[in-house]
């Protein structure tokens, strides 16, 4: 009997090994949120990002000087202010909306360079050279002078992982600025979409989209993009709208982290959207 079993194992050893390795892989996949895996990832990420940073800085040796960082910072701050003013143009008649308005421009910005990128149609991730030492925390938004790029998903002492908008695991609450309708923005592998907007709302191509007041992860009124397409589904009752982001996410080399502190209680609930 033992001989028979060992002969079978020997004959199909590749398949047995494949099965074992697949089971281990799937177990690791399902334990992504476990502290042991997180610890291991933090260690590996922090160690290897140093190498990436050296190569990256060597590759970008011909890039702009220090004043560029200052200019980019001013640009990002102005972008926030412009968007705030544009927003107030839409809602100026209602004192109530003025009271609920939060000042996004008051958040401090932390400049960061992109050290490496994971390019994929489904899982867009950046590693940046700012970490917990710089006050970066999970859930803080990453922006550039055009608009939002993503959200901090993982932090080590010196480096952080930014989950970009081009990541199917990231869903954020947004508002179509002109008509004040809220929705959840997600990446379907091809484009950014907001689903299930009732057709009674007149969403037009070109309407601006920004982060919503309802989001506890992100501060409100950060520019996201413009409506590029509107598709009617479900017997003409609902729209799916496509969004073209303001920021050229694929080409981002440096960005800012908005040091906003999300509400802890609501955050626990909303962070589930990132998983």
């Amino acid at each position: 009997m033992l001989k028979f079993i060992s002969r079978i194992i020997n004959q199909f050893k590749e398949y047995f090994l494949l099965t074992i390795l697949i089971i281990i892989s799937l177990t690791v996949l399902s334990s992504n949120e476990k502290p042991q895996i997180k610890k291991l990832r933090t260690f590996a990420l922090g160690s290897f990002a140093v190498v990436n940073q050296v190569v990256n800085s060597a590759a970008s040796i011909f890039e702009a000087d220090e004043s560029a960082e200052q200019l980019r910072r001013e640009n990002a701050e102005l972008m926030m202010q412009v968007n705030r003013l544009r927003k107030s143009g839409y809602v100026n008649q209602e004192l109530r909306s003025m009271l609920s308005y939060k000042d996004t421009s008051s958040y401090p910005l932390v400049y960061a360079d992109v050290v490496s990128k994971l390019v994929n149609k489904i899982q867009g991730n950046f590693i940046i050279n700012r970490g917990s030492k710089d006050g970066i925390k999970i859930g803080m938004p990453a922006v550039n002078d055009k608009g939002i790029i993503g959200v901090i998903a993982d932090v080590t002492e010196d480096f952080s992982v930014v989950r970009t908008l081009y990541n199917s695991s990231l869903n954020i609450a947004v508002t179509v600025q002109s008509i004040n309708i809220d929705g959840i923005l997600s990446w379907n592998g091809n484009e950014l979409i907001i689903k299930n907007i009732p057709t009674t709302y007149n969403v037009r191509v070109g309407d601006r989209v920004e982060t919503s007041d309802f989001s506890s992860i992100l501060p409100p009124h950060i520019p996201v993009g413009v409506v590029s397409k509107r598709e009617t589904i479900s017997l003409g009752l609902l729209h799916t709208i496509s969004i073209k982001p303001f920021a050229d996410i694929s080409a981002v080399d440096n960005l800012f982290i908005i040091k906003s502190l999300p509400s802890k209680q609501v955050n626990q609930l909303e962070m589930n959207l990132m998983r």
Binding site: L18, S25, A49, A59, L118, N120, K121, I122, G124, S186
Partner: protein, 162 residues
């Protein structure tokens, strides 16, 4: 034998840097080649299916950890794609398999399966269709990876002539 396993691990470090720093610069519309898979497929055709699976599994896990992506995704996709590439291993045809256009065919199959599987396990959005994943996130990255595998064939062919 141990050296055979050590070699891809040593090559992995510079290739991982290339994958995470240089490859994003040459990606087209989020379609990027996988330079680490080029190496793993090459060694699989040289040393066999079991060797390839273990190498793919270990290096996949390492890439998962250092890329900030989903842990286990590359581990899974590398293991399965290299298992399929390992079917083409023949100890009497190592030269033909690694220094001819046949290598590119195997590489394309492995790369397309790898990219498809990676996206399939990493995807959490139910709106993404299987057909879309197979074409846009399977075949296209597969073709791109195959194009980057061309220098491997040229280099090995020249080495064979010399």
């Amino acid at each position: 034998m141990l050296l055979n396993y050590l070699r891809p691990v040593l090559y992995f470090i510079p290739l991982a840097v290339v994958q995470l720093v240089i490859v994003p610069l040459i990606s087209i519309a989020e379609i990027a080649p996988n330079v680490i898979l080029i190496m793993i497929v090459f060694y699989t055709l040289k040393y066999g299916q079991i060797y390839g699976m273990i190498t793919g599994f270990v290096l996949g896990f390492a890439l998962d950890l250092i890329s900030g992506g989903l842990a286990g995704a590359f581990m899974f996709s590398f293991t399965v794609s290299v298992f399929i590439a390992g079917y083409f291993y023949n100890e009497n045809k190592i030269e033909i398999n690694t220094a001819s256009s046949f290598y590119l065919v195997i590489l394309f199959i492995a790369a397309a399966i790898n990219a498809f599987l990676y996206s399939a396990v990493a995807n959490t959005n139910s709106d993404v269709g299987i057909l879309y994943l197979a074409v846009e996130d399977g075949i296209l990255p597969g073709l791109y990876t195959t194009a980057l595998g061309l220098p491997v064939v040229i280099f090995n062919t020249r080495k064979g002539i010399e």
